[in-house]
């Protein structure tokens, strides 16, 4: 080969090389870190472009609740902001059965009061937690609240309260909406769980709601009186030194039996979120657990036992920082996708959130998932926490709301460098708080905007948060969706760590129709948790399931909300009750709530 030829080829190669270096500019999709829409989009513009607009109305709704983080043992002081970074929670319940959703939120400060906002039906709420006996639940020595889920465990028609804590979990019986009676002792709940997640489910189909609680820190750690500073995860991707899991089988008469190990749930991963739904079409609710510092777990339920199938289904391969679990039939295919939030920080840690979509042709015992978050455009949120699916513009496709932000302190100083430095170390280093550099008022993944992705129904989501009015950057934790004012639209409620509770009132393009179902079990558990409604309209179908808790430390309204787009007619609704009964409603009227009781 002549030198001239080699030289010519080198020139071409250099051009090729420059092309390679420029390639990221073209290969990158518009960055989610920057592409948060225009702040200037006005309500009318948002309505015409996206079909809805959200307006934050907490104060005018008479809600001025602010969450406070716990103050833990002084030995944890160097990284207190990191350790005390969770606790904000929101759950929706109609505790008095008046047909209007109420809101329960928790505080995580010693002595802080939880609040139950009773819906006054006029656009405002009133905190009735104190008079009903479920406000002052963060008393010193008993730990502090980190979440609440509601379920009618004794089938008396009223939703009861399960309060989880970094501390003693509490069960409160709802006395027909007039007050609450502590039922913790009778239920046999343990004296201490450092829990961040709980879900009501009827795993054995006996018509009585059972209960799952996932531990985060080990249950022998009292964060106010630590005996050692070695309380941190042994690894940031493979940790198995977290809290244990609890599965309480409801024995009736307000008594529960702990059966987790006996039934195959034996994990000490650091659980942050759990959700339950029948993912395999078996008729039994499966259990999905999103774990921090490791892989997620999927427990397949055959009605008598659970088997962990995360590895074989594909969801248990890549360890991330799972913080939320939400199920949604995003492709209107009659199958649930699963959204799990994780951490992404530009240039430092790009885990990406996961959207687990069932693989074509896989089902039942051979169910396989693939992560299509990147393809669908819902991958990069930030330091993501709570996420929920819901049709926010009533166009017939489920949209996705994701909260973000970890610790927002000094805006100009970041803890990321120190965090990344230690997180890469050996367990003997990272597991001990005293080896961590002091936080020193720095931020870590702070001041991050929320993401609101609207679904085009064909596999693409578009980020519109700012454009539709979601502009705040508090450290979001829990998000819940509910039709707060019975208008046929889903409003959004966001609980922020060390921040205010936000109520986003939704205004939806009125041409889009909707339909809602409120189910009441008879043979099945009365809350109808686990019941599935498959709606058929205009050649489309969508399945939704009544949930006993989802997202991060959150619970949506019990009723199921379907957007219908421009269709003003529904062909049929097929209800599969937890008991296995199938009920079909032909042509249910649209633009109204249907209250259905399980047929005898």
């Amino acid at each position: 080969m002549t030198e001239a030829l080699v030289a010519r080829r080198r020139v071409l190669l250099s051009i090729f090389f420059v092309g390679l270096l420029a390639a990221p500019i073209f290969l990158k999709q518009p960055s989610a870190f920057r592409g948060v829409g225009s702040e200037t989009d006005a309500r009318s513009s948002a309505l015409s472009r996206y079909g809805f607009f959200l307006e934050e109305v907490a104060h005018s709704a008479n809600i001025d609740f602010v969450h406070h983080a716990p103050v833990l043992d002084a030995k944890l002081a160097p990284i207190m902001p990191e350790i005390a970074s969770m606790g904000a929670s929101v759950s929706i319940v109609d505790y008095d059965r008046d047909g209007w959703p109420d809101i329960y939120v928790v505080d995580s400060r010693d002595g802080g009061k939880n609040a139950l906002y009773h819906n006054l039906r006029d656009g405002t709420f009133k905190d009735v937690a104190a008079e009903l006996g479920i406000a002052n639940l963060n008393r010193s020595g008993s730990g502090v609240s980190t979440g609440a889920v509601w379920g009618d465990y004794d089938n008396d028609g009223y939703e009861d309260l399960l309060l989880i804590k970094w501390g003693r979990p509490e069960l409160y019986h709802n006395d027909q909406g007039r007050g609450f009676t502590r039922a913790t002792e009778e239920a046999g709940l343990p004296s201490w769980i450092n829990a961040n997640t709980a879900v009501w489910l009827d795993f054995d189909g006996d018509g009585l709601l059972d209960l799952f609680i996932g531990g985060y820190y080990s249950e022998d750690v009292d964060l106010w009186h630590v005996t050692t500073t070695k309380i941190m995860p042994e690894s940031f991707e493979y940790a198995k030194n977290g809290g244990r899991k609890y599965l309480f089988r409801n024995l009736g008469q307000g008594r529960f039996e702990e059966v987790s190990e006996k039934l195959g749930i034996d994990s000490r991963r650091w659980s942050l979120a759990a959700g339950s739904a029948d993912l395999r079409g078996s008729g039994h609710p499966d259990l999905f657990i999103a774990n921090d510092y490791g892989v997620s777990e999927l427990y397949a339920n055959d009605g008598t036992r659970f088997q962990e199938v995360g590895g074989q289904t594909g969801i248990g391969f890549a360890p991330k920082s799972g913080m939320s679990v939400a199920f949604g039939d995003i492709l209107n295919s009659g199958r649930f996708a699963i959204y799990v939030s994780n951490i992404s920080e530009e240039g430092i840690l790009i885990q990406g959130n996961n959207l687990w979509v069932p693989k074509e042709g896989s089902s039942g015992k051979d169910l396989k998932y693939e992560n299509l978050a990147g393809d669908f455009g819902v991958e990069l949120g930030g330091w993501s926490f709570g996420a929920q699916f819901g049709d926010l513009n009533n166009d017939g496709n489920l949209d996705l709301f994701v909260t973000n932000g970890f610790v927002s302190l000094d805006k100009n100083r970041s803890y990321w460098y120190d965090f990344a430095k230690v997180a890469g170390g050996h367990s003997s280093i990272i597991a001990d708080v005293k080896n961590w550099p002091a936080f020193d008022n720095r931020s870590l993944g702070g001041y991050q905007p929320k993401r609101l992705w609207i679904n085009d129904g064909a596999g693409k989501f578009a980020e519109v948060a700012r454009a539709v009015g979601v502009t705040e950057t508090y450290d979001g934790r829990a998000v819940a969706l509910a039709d707060l004012w019975n208008r046929g639209v889903l409003d959004v409620i966001v609980a922020n760590q060390n921040g205010p509770l936000l109520i986003y009132k939704n205004t939806v393009e009125p041409q889009n129709a909707w339909i809602e179902f409120e189910l009441e079990g008879v043979t099945s558990n009365r809350s109808a948790i686990g019941a599935q409604v498959t709606l058929y309209w205009g050649g489309r179908l969508q399945v939704q399931e009544v949930s006993g808790g989802s997202g991060f430390a959150a619970q949506n309204q019990r009723r199921l909300h379907f957007g219908l787009g421009k269709s003003d007619r529904v062909d049929k609704a097929v209800i599969r009750w937890p008991s296995g009964k199938i009920q079909m409603i032909e042509e249910p009227a649209v633009r109204q709530l249907h209250k259905l009781k399980e047929p005898a």
């Binding site: 090389f17 990221p24 920057r34 460098y417 997180a423 890469g424």
Partner: protein
């Protein structure tokens, strides 16, 4: 100097020797494959099989294609294999394209960024730095540890040390590690950060690859033993400066800066000496 062996080995011993004395160029690929297998079987370190396979495939394909196009020869693929695996392990991204692109950039850099027919950046170091600079919102690098089990880490450290010793490059690794600890102590003194926090990074897998593969790369290190030791001390020093400025990927960037600088300096010294002998003109003349 060691004495030559005069005894005649037995045929059996010869056979064993021929088995054990395989081409040194395969040692590093064997080690990195071990790291991959141990790391993945112990903890599942790979982002995904597909992405790692893509990184390796693109790396090897690029090496073959460029070697043939530029030099008209079939290149040895050990180096490309190491680059591909390094990219597969060290790069983290939910998307697949960064793995292929990083490998392509890494290998192509070897053929483009050359001085006196010698490439001056360690390929994977260049590729990963390029991706972190150019696609920081899509990629990150491995920055987590493997877990609480010491044995995989000890195994890799031992195996790695034996292999780099065998390749006569243990002095590079040892010098860098010693310098790292000294500078960690210095950083801890300056910042008030716990010493364990400053030491933490070197206990992670990213550093194992960095120490055994990147800084010891024969093609991108200077010729003299003393020079190599000085260079890695400089790498550790620049790394410390970057760390004091809270740069997360300080070791990559330090090598990115110091490695080529050292080679350019060596080239300049060669030219200077040559000019001293000949009284002639500059490089390439």
């Amino acid at each position: 100097m060691s004495q030559p062996v005069t005894a005649t080995p037995s045929p059996k011993l010869e056979r064993w020797r021929s088995v054990l004395n395989f081409d040194n160029r395969y040692l590093a690929p064997v080690l990195i494959t071990c790291i991959l297998i141990v790391g993945h079987l112990s903890f599942g370190i790979l982002e995904s099989y597909e992405k790692t396979a893509l990184a390796i495939a693109v790396s090897i394909f690029a090496e073959i294609a460029l070697g043939k196009i530029i030099y008209g020869t079939w290149p040895h693929l050990a180096s490309a294999y190491i680059t591909g695996i390094s990219v597969g392990i060290l790069l983290r991204s939910p998307a697949a394209w960064p793995f292929g692109l990083c490998s392509a950039i890494s290998i192509t850099s070897k053929y483009v960024l050359r001085i006196r027919d010698r490439h001056i950046w360690n390929p994977s170091n260049f590729g990963i730095c390029a991706m972190l600079f150019l696609a920081g919102d899509k990629v990150a690098s491995l920055s987590i540890q493997w877990g609480n089990n010491l044995w995989p880490m000890i195994l890799i450290w031992l195996l790695g040390s034996v292999i780099v010793w065998r390749l006569r490059r243990f002095h590079i690794t040892a010098t860098y590690v010693a310098a790292f600890f000294l500078f960690a102590f210095l950083r801890s003194s300056i910042t008030g950060s716990p010493l364990q926090a400053e030491i933490a990074p070197i206990t992670g897998p990213m550093y194992q690859l960095f120490i055994f593969f990147m800084i010891t790369d024969p093609k991108t290190t200077v010729r003299s033993k003393l020079g190599r030791c000085i260079v890695v001390i400089m790498v550790a020093m620049v790394e410390t400066v970057l760390r004091l400025n809270e740069v997360v990927y300080a070791p990559y960037y330090a090598l990115f800066i110091v490695g080529p600088t050292a080679l350019l300096l060596e080239n300049w010294l060669d030219w200077y000496k040559q000019r001293g002998h000949t009284g002639g003109s500059g490089i390439g003349s």
